[in-house]
């Protein structure tokens, strides 16, 4: 079976050498979407530096107006534009490229791209000219200029078209028999993301179109209803990110170490669980809102009894176990952890993958489930614990996985060698360390009651200034410095990606033979696995002991963190 992996990788290579391009339009759309994604990432990261230096009150760099403007710009460009443009690239990859099929209606792909770019520019112009100081959630009755909402609508319509194109390309591939059997798991993950994206974008249409009309004074808007449906968009889109990220995890595991799929049935079922419970995701943003009752809150915040959490716990086992098995097939079978010690840690595709799994699972997952508990949310809502949580899910998890896969997309799609290879090897480590530490510093500040989205927590100009525990000052400094390290890692990534794509050395057959620098080891040398029957029988018996140890450590952390929070809750005033 490993031949199939090899032949797949060879197909990318044959492209380079012989110039066969069955999916040229898909490739080009991948390129432009990825490039625009990176531009948005750059805007977001520059804004983040301003935010960090403002929230570090010893520096307090931005003025009050600029702080909220940069905050709006950061949320929008990161969470909406960067992530979704990148996901469009992932969809073109997971569909036409993975299946080796043509892209139906490439013009529609370009139309979608233009709509999305125009929408993103419109929205950004409104933000940076001060006509939309409403933060990216834009809760009415706060009102932005109507162009702002229209920009988002255009962007969403574009994204919807890309999803439809993805479905069509699956259909075409099936009809034209470009593959046998079922679609690969990576494509299945992409399909999950696309289906969730459609559900999400429908919520978006339901809320943004009326809000746009409201901004034109054509109809009224209920603030609570807005919050309910807006989060149907805002949170479901996080589930697109999770599904896309997990698909990228499986992809990178296969590319870097020949990671295998433990069980197709289980992994696919887990993806389906994501789809089924997605529209309930809105609830955990509204746990202390006046509009909904407790029964509604409990049922929905748990995504129907935590079955979506179960799905993540399944992937949390199968991804590392797939890596472990892949490594064991390569002969690293000694002890419990030889497979981990002898892994290609110098390959940013691999280190990025592993760090993303660890940060997302250990930090993001555990904090997310805990904060999303109806009662525990009382201690966390709108405090810095919330950004502390999502910077280790969508940033330390998704954004890191996307950066890691870029190091493979550059040779496989752009057919270039990765620039600044010597530095880039350390990029995932720097980013992971910076973002985790920043998120932890945010979380601890939140425990002391420090609010998010706040220009001056000491409220110097208010009738009643606030005196925080002195340790908060220290935490602010840690947050700012660690965040700046993460931002430097992102800038390094951006510079490397731009240099590689626009000025990079081409990936030629000679370069591969010579093992020239800038080619990740998974592209250089296909995972050399032995699949003889004695090996397979042995692995069936041992299974993945290393992963078993890791997941039980994870569960222990989860249980402790969860119940410590319940304990903390008992110290509060009685409330009900």
């Amino acid at each position: 079976m490993s031949e199939t992996v090899q032949s797949l990788a060879k197909r990318f290579r044959t492209c380079t050498v012989t110039g066969i391009k069955i999916h040229r339009s898909a490739e080009q759309l991948i390129k432009v979407n990825a490039v625009v994604a990176i531009v948005c990432f750059l805007i977001g990261v520059l804004a983040a530096i301003g935010l960090l230096l403002t929230r570090w009150q010893a520096v307090h760099y931005l003025s009050v107006v600029m702080y909220y403007r940069f905050l709006t710009a950061h949320g929008l460009n990161m969470l909406i534009f960067f992530i979704i443009f990148f996901e469009m690239a992932v969809l073109y990859f997971a569909g036409p490229v993975m299946l080796g099929s043509r892209l139906p209606a490439p013009r529609a792909g370009w139309l979608a791209f233009i709509l999305m770019v125009v929408g993103a520019i419109m929205t950004n112009v409104m933000v940076f000219t001060g006509q939309a100081d409403v933060l990216f959630t834009s809760y009415p009755p706060l009102k932005a200029a109507h162009w702002y909402y229209l920009g988002i609508i255009l962007f969403a319509v574009g994204a919807l078209i890309v999803c439809v194109l993805f479905f069509l390309s699956l259909h075409v591939a099936k009809k034209e028999k470009t593959y046998e059997g079922s679609v690969p798991l990576v494509t299945f993950g992409g399909l999950t993301a696309a289906i969730i994206a459609v559900i999400t974008l429908l919520h978006g249409a339901i809320i943004y179109i009326p809000t746009w009309l409201w901004s034109l004074d054509i109809m009224p808007m209920d603030p609570q209803l807005y919050r309910l449906i807006w989060w149907g968009l805002g949170h479901s889109s996080q589930q697109i990110n999770v599904a896309a990220m997990v698909a990228v995890w499986y992809l990178l595991a296969g590319l870097t170490v020949g990671g295998v799929v433990l069980n197709e049935k289980m992994s696919r079922t887990a993806f389906v669980l994501y789809i089924l419970f997605i529209s309930m995701a809105s609830a955990h943003h509204l746990l202390v809102d006046p509009g909904m009752g407790s029964a509604w809150k409990i049922w929905n915040t748990s995504y129907a009894m935590y079955l979506a959490v179960l799905a993540s716990m399944i992937h949390g086992f199968t991804v590392p176990a797939g890596i472990e098995l892949g490594q064991r097939l390569r002969g690293f079978t000694n002890g419990t952890f030889e497979w981990l010690r002898k892994a290609p840690w110098g390959d940013p595709g691999f280190s990025g993958l592993v760090l993303s799994v660890i940060i997302f699972g250990f930090m993001g997952g555990i904090t997310g489930v805990t904060l999303g508990t109806e009662q525990i949310n009382i201690m966390a809502h709108n405090t810095l614990r919330i950004p502390g949580h999502f910077h280790v899910t969508v940033v330390g998890g998704t954004a890191l996985a996307f950066m890691a896969v870029t190091y493979y997309l550059i040779p496989l799609i752009f057919q270039k060698r990765v620039a600044l290879w010597g530095l880039v090897k350390y990029q995932p480590y720097l980013f992971a360390a910076g973002i985790s530490l920043m998120a932890m510093a945010m979380t601890f500040q939140g425990v002391f009651g420090v609010p998010r989205r706040h220009w001056d927590i000491n409220a110097a100009d208010s009738p009643f200034p606030v005196e925080f525990h002195p340790v908060v000052n220290l935490l602010q400094a840690i947050m700012a410095i660690a965040g700046i390290l993460a931002a430097i890692a992102v800038l390094l990534y951006i510079i490397s990606a731009v240099l590689s794509v626009f000025f990079g050395k081409p990936l030629t057959a000679e370069a591969i033979n010579e093992k020239a620098s800038g080619i990740p080891q998974g592209v250089l040398q296909l995972p050399n696995q032995s699949h003889n029957s004695s090996m397979v029988a042995r692995l069936h018996k041992t299974g993945t002991p290393g992963t078993v140890v890791l997941v039980f450590i994870f569960l222990a952390c989860f249980v402790v963190y969860y119940f410590v929070n319940w304990k903390l809750l008992t110290f509060l005033w009685k409330i009900g």
Binding site: T4, V5, L8, Y68, M98, L99, Y139, P141, L142, Y179, G181, S182, V186, R227, L251, A253, G254, G259, V260, V261, N263, E264, P290, G291, G293, S294, I298, S302, M305, Y306, V309, M313, I314, A321, G326, E374, Q375, N377, I378, H381, T383, G449, R453, H454, I457, A459, S462, P463, V466, H531, L539, H540, T544, V548, W566, L569, T570, K574, I575, G576
Partner: protein, 181 residues
């Protein structure tokens, strides 16, 4: 685990609906049980725990709520501080606190270990009620009256920080609660 190993980049052929390896099965079972524990904790806390965001919730016209708040302030006012009424409601009273850009309607004077019904609403945009340093956080949405029974468990001076963005004056929107023995 299937008989032949393949990566996630490969189209699986034939029947891939195969039994799950015992290790994976054990993990999924334990995860499922843990998910049920997570789920059970929330309803359980409604019976056994003292902190729940249930409350008494109703739609309200912002002007009506403002009027109620004014009446409440007049009825129980015991002084002024920084131009704001200081209000000391009797035990068990309905307490009205109106958030508006960028202040709170009164300084509240409460008694320790005494229950009050605190009504929160907004005259304009969304605001956030964050009781400092206790760290109780409640969302305030205009047009909705969120009534919560609260029982202070220690004496002292507390702040109410607005923790939902409400415009450029958001950071000066701080109020005060005094709890006496």
């Amino acid at each position: 685990m299937s008989k032949e190993f393949h990566s996630a980049l490969v189209s699986p052929t034939g029947v891939w609906w195969k039994p799950v390896h015992s290790q994976e099965k054990r993990w999924i079972t334990i995860s499922f049980i843990w998910c049920m524990v997570l789920f059970a904790m929330m309803p359980l806390w409604h019976f056994k725990g003292g902190q729940n965001p249930t409350g008494v919730r109703a739609r309200v016209d912002p002007a009506d709520f403002a009027e109620r708040t004014e009446r409440f302030n007049k009825e129980f006012q015991v002084g002024t501080e920084k131009g704001m009424p200081v209000v000391a409601p009797p035990p068990g009273a309905d307490v009205y606190l109106l958030a508006r850009m960028w202040s709170w309607s009164s300084v509240l004077k409460l008694k320790k270990d005494t229950e009050y019904m605190l009504h929160l609403s907004s005259a304009d945009v969304n605001h956030g009620f964050s009781l400092f340093p206790i760290n109780v956080n409640i969302q305030i949405v205009p047009g909705y009256d969120y009534g919560l029974k609260i029982t202070p468990n220690e004496a002292g001076e507390f702040r109410i920080i607005c923790n939902e963005f409400c415009g450029v004056g958001h950071h000066i929107m701080v109020g005060k609660v005094i709890v006496e023995e």
